[in-house]
Symmetry: C2
Subunit: 446 residues, 2 copies
């Protein structure tokens, strides 16, 4: 009899899991369930549609319905998973018209994602207060922007800043309010974050750090926010204070939840219950450096975990080696990337560090059009290994982050980096690669 | 008494050696000798001045005279080193007005560079036939271009193609003639070279491979070249058929020359004679993968070797770990990069390989402006380690080459690359990094 695979979630993790399962077992019956009305889209693209870089939200659909048909995947839209019975290996679902059904599974993959966490700020239920997570959220915010002249974004993480940039690109007067003393607190050290903040402020975004929103103001509809006694007018408020994994279904089924709040998995992305796997934003896996649990919640992690879960769920063998949290974004004219641990995070894990930072250029000094680039490398003082990198620059950040990610994964020491064979041509790099220069700065402090 | 360091050569290797020596020994007497009338410039920039990207040749002077003064380096321009006496540790030099002098040294660094090799083609002495190596060459060719309407470049290596592109950018009808069956024969495998050739042909460069130039035609001045019986008109001919290390001085002094024709060095960049070092295009060092001698002849190698030689010559300790030959260029709208061994080169060294190639995009498929990118990865079938990478794309090639270079240096296996933690955002990468996809293709063939 054909193997039955049920996947709850049909975006990055779910769809990649389904694809990998199909490639592993040509005959499996694979069912994907999502409560949304569209599957297989890239939420990462939403701010760029709003900002006008991408023509429409439909463009973000990476896997159209035809893909699921071609791969013989039974995709159920607007369908909720109500209950998992791990004893009898069934999932109870509720379809479009409230019709319930019980699906049997041999393997189950939880790719339930995460939801935006909205802190209990007074007035958060007013009209004009949104989160920005799903395609539907994107459409609603985009519609609201047609009439809005000003916006406040609560939270200066990746999503918050990407949203703020898109609002400025649409001509709105935009303010970002962040509780912590810096922007991108989960991604960058404070010295690097300052550069980002400066750039955004120069481009017209008002950024208030070290401050919480006391209240969202207005009658029925939002009219502004109150921050430290000051009133900031706003026709639109976005709450971007982070996401939390969707684990209720798993928890109710007795599946173990880890210390980060995500579903605990092993290297095969298997949960505490046999034949149940988890992948993507709902899952917790391991940080490659600290070996501690980590909820990475990045699209790249989701597809890699999804693939491993899919192969294993279909009877194959695959392992996920862990996360480094390599991430990048582009905010106006700045690319910002990170991999591994920040200096701050390393300190919290008790790792004594040495750092090397340098500002250089992305092309030969004499070649027109070169952009400024700042590289910061974090080194474990004890082993002299590279454990983190942060880069901010006008171009060529992404692949430098990948290069440092490879270096970290292969336990390159900072002395090895300082001697690395790198490439150069006047239009595309300096003779001395900036990562190498940063390594030399770090070595002098060892 | 102050340590006396003499450096023959004052460009990439020589100047970086001098700088490193100065930082190592604040009191050393450091003398640099060059027979050219300008020191410390970047020859890599010459084609880009000719092509109009960089305003003037003067812009290529990375280390102006003030730098040498600031670093207390005694720079002697238009000065020839005539003879090295390794017994008495002296160098005989001939200065501007034919005045000779004997310099004593405690340490000597040979950074004599390389010269363009001109094969014995009939007519090669005609006016209008040039090589393109020094700033002076650049100025002469640039002057000749003012009247020229057509050009032939002999040799489709890096310099040849960069020159051809610069001529096309100046509006000349340009033909490249290459003896071997492909462009960039020392850099790329034939499958990858074909993409480059196609791009250049589409941009109007006439490329003839598999053909030698039988004769350079014309009376006093060149009028064209004869290739396989066909006459190609040309007002200007550039011979770009490779360079040879300048080793005569070393050879005459009894310093050992290696099998590649470069001055043999150990990991400290020391030659066969005590206290004599060599660095840059004149030196032979070791290929990191094959452990065989290699003359890398790249600017990046020159500065790294120069630095090691400078530290050691000044009484410090530094080692050069070897070359991978990581190189990149930009030809019109295409970046082309390589690191490690090509499939062909690996075969010649007797390494059985498996390769993975893939064409992808540089941004999310839905993000406007993404460029096509092709990644080829060469794997040692026995160890499953990555031993080479070639990338051609519209952008973001350089740092991917650096990433693969790091991977090779740290002996990353292709299976590790397939599981690597990479970063992504819609404007700067695809979710699945193309290097990772290429790795997966290779794994399927193992």
């Amino acid at each position: 009899m054909a193997r039955k695979i049920v996947i709850i979630g049909a975006h990055a993790a779910g769809t990649d899991a389904a694809s990998a399962a199909r490639k592993t077992d040509r005959h499996a019956e694979i069912t994907l369930i999502t409560d949304q009305d569209v599957a297989g889209y890239s939420p990462c693209g939403i701010p760029f549609v709003i900002g006008g870089h991408i023509p429409s939200f439909e463009d973000l659909i990476v896997f159209p319905p035809s893909y699921y048909r071609m791969m013989k995947l039974d995709l159920r839209l607007k369908t909720k998973a109500k209950k998992i019975d791990v004893e009898n290996k069934t999932v109870e679902i509720e379809g479009k018209e409230g019709k319930t059904e019980v699906l049997e599974y041999d393997s189950l993959i939880l790719a339930t994602g995460a939801y935006p966490f909205v802190p209990p700020i007074r007035g958060r239920d007013k009209k004009g207060v949104y989160t920005l997570r799903t395609l539907e959220d994107g459409r609603i915010v985009n519609k609201a922007l047609e009439k809005a002249k000003s916006a406040v974004v609560i939270g200066a993480g990746l999503i918050g800043l990407e949203a703020a940039v898109s609002f400025v690109e649409r001509g709105l007067k935009t303010t970002v309010v962040e509780l912590l003393p810096q922007v991108l607190p989960a991604m960058l050290d404070r010295d690097m974050a300052r550069l980002v903040q400066k750039h955004l402020e120069e481009e017209g975004i008002n950024i208030i750090t070290d401050s919480g929103v006391d209240e969202i103001l207005g009658d029925d509809h939002v009219s502004g926010v109150s921050v430290a006694g000051e009133e900031i007018p706003a026709d639109l408020v976005i709450v971007a204070t982070g996401v939390r994994p969707n684990v209720q279904l798993a928890r109710d089924a007795g599946i173990e939840i880890g210390e980060t709040g995500g579903i605990k998995t092993n290297m095969r992305m298997e949960t505490s219950v046999k034949d149940v796997y988890a992948a993507g934003d709902c899952a917790e896996s391991v940080n490659m450096i600290t070996k501690r649990p980590m909820a990475s919640q990045l699209g790249t992690t989701a597809v890699r975990q999804g693939k491993v879960a899919g192969v294993n769920a279909a009877g194959g063998y695959a392992v996920f080696l862990g996360c480094l949290g390599s991430a990048v974004t582009k905010l106006l004219n700045l690319e910002i990337g990170v991999t591994g641990l920040t200096e701050y995070a390393a300190g919290r894990f008790g790792i004594e560090t040495v750092v090397g930072s340098i500002t250089s250029k992305t092309r030969a000094d004499y070649y027109p059009g070169g952009k400024s680039i700042r590289v910061k490398i974090v080194v474990d003082k004890d082993t002299e290994r590279i454990i983190g990198g942060q880069i901010i620059g006008g171009e060529a950040v992404t692949q430098r982050i990948n290069a440092l990610s490879f270096a970290i994964q292969k336990q390159m020491t900072i002395r090895e980096l300082a001697k690395a064979d790198t490439c150069y041509a006047p239009p595309v790099n300096e003779t001395w690669e900036p990562m190498v220069l940063a390594a030399e700065v770090a070595i002098r402090k060892l």
